[in-house]
Symmetry: C2
Subunit: 352 residues, 2 copies
Amino acid sequence: MNKKIAVISTGNGGQAIAAFIALKGYYVSLYAREKERVDMFANNLFHIKGIINDVASIGLISCDMEEVIKDAYLILVTTPAQYHFAVAKEMALYLKTGQVVVLNPGRTFGTYEFNQVLEQNGCNADILLGEADTLVFTCRCDKPGNPHIYEIKKKVKIAGHKKAYTKEITDIMNEIFHDMESAPSVLHTGLSNIGVIFHPLPTLMNITRIEAKEVFRYYIDGISPLVANILEELDKERLETARKAGIELLSVCEWLKERYGSTGNNLYECIQNTHAYSSVLAPFDIDTRYIHEDVQTGCVPISCLAKEMGVKTKIMDSAISWASIIYKKDFYECGRNNKKLDIRKIIDDNLK
Amino acid sequence: MNKKIAVISTGNGGQAIAAFIALKGYYVSLYAREKERVDMFANNLFHIKGIINDVASIGLISCDMEEVIKDAYLILVTTPAQYHFAVAKEMALYLKTGQVVVLNPGRTFGTYEFNQVLEQNGCNADILLGEADTLVFTCRCDKPGNPHIYEIKKKVKIAGHKKAYTKEITDIMNEIFHDMESAPSVLHTGLSNIGVIFHPLPTLMNITRIEAKEVFRYYIDGISPLVANILEELDKERLETARKAGIELLSVCEWLKERYGSTGNNLYECIQNTHAYSSVLAPFDIDTRYIHEDVQTGCVPISCLAKEMGVKTKIMDSAISWASIIYKKDFYECGRNNKKLDIRKIIDDNLK
């Protein structure tokens, strides 16, 4: 049998990654949380489109976690980050010492939550746990088994939950994806969470259009000059938090310029000039990961971290409280807060 | 000369009221803050439309406050409430004992702010100061001198700044408008401020559409089921605050049913079935009194009052902080807060 890699989740990212690595010659096992998700695939052949056009054969598609991860040397978790705890709980008893688990991405404090849930659920294996700062592909699936990869992102950052493992995990990832780089710590990958800037606020500020099922371009129409301006202010809160932790990060503008070659004098102009965003549509439903994932696993932990570092995050906090009101859900309570995670310890672990 | 009434402000309400009372045979003097506002009228003839079709002659249109209010037995202030302080400052030295000043409407704590500014600016006159809970007309002006009155509201409530004057002020107002009723105190008129429910939140939740100059029906399209649902929750904060002050008020649903004969099982349905709202368009600019007036003179004072009464106003507070972020203006600071007004004293003055 070829070397086995497990991919956890059958969303856009999971299907794209599964097909991509199957075409590289690995035996791929794909985990779906529910039987209906397994049944949505007509067969194990995935028709990949976009930068690659080919047909990939997936070794196994199953909702049996034990079977999926058994003997896999690498386990790629591609679920929205608010499900990390559920995935960790599910696989805790089946992990074996030496297996490598990478969260794609970890969002903010992903490995800490994952590791904590593993320990609480009896996992004794000494695994190599790490996280990426973003999903390696820009991709979508129009229908099951048909992933479309628009782009392979450059310079995706990898950090080990324990810094000592970072290089080894990066090397393993680079055998498959080629352009990954080691980050100094999970504070770097966690604070490079760009979703927290681009997702919750524009969704909240266009909520009635999304509720009305209006079809509009998320970035081009939804991020108006006013919204872009607030996102720049929000980004300053993220950058200041990072700075207090001794980390210099790219602003979202600089990030767009580096990753996409965008041009412009401000965020509004940069987004308008980002080709990759030109046809991305807004969510079709108010229940979107742009809120549920990015507020719980981005805004909340960054806000908590900022408080520990003495940085005020007025806009981030407002986004959390506004989302909580609109969604009738206490996002602070259900997010990665400092009651769930020992934020002080995370800082001490990772600050130089 | 006929009995003189001064109308302060040349907005929609000011023009409609000026024309309406001129047609009743009063000598009307109309105050405009700037010379350009005076010059926008071709002559002193106002063509009134809607429930009345006639031509009214306005005695005086001027930006000379002294001249406008001189010898007026009644002064009707129809500016957006955030300008009450400026109006009070302007007229402080010219008011004479016995003159009646009515804020139309006072929004929340209008007479307190007005009275305080009069005192601070050397007004020694013993005037009769009062406020209405809402503007007596539903009206618009398509062009200067052409007020359109859609409706005269029923059961408009009047309260005197000093309770002892309430009946006298109501009687004076009823000589002109016929269907005004005395309210027990300015807490009643101030907490009956419906604008605070209907204006800021829907504006904030449709902000990108307003910014894009999209033409949409404010109530019918802008108050989606989601928005209506949050407005009902916001309204509960207002009602609970009133209840703690011993005041039972109509909910916005009940208010729509009483004032407009609306029907429905919830606020969304009631609004959809409110004929008067069917063609009201959203603001054409993000700088709208729906934010500047209603947050400063509605959300802020009600939130402060609620805190004094031990009521939590999570949604009201969120609206204030969200507006502050979007408008880059500290609405709490510039609003009628408990640093500007002695809220505890207002409660003690008015609680039974």
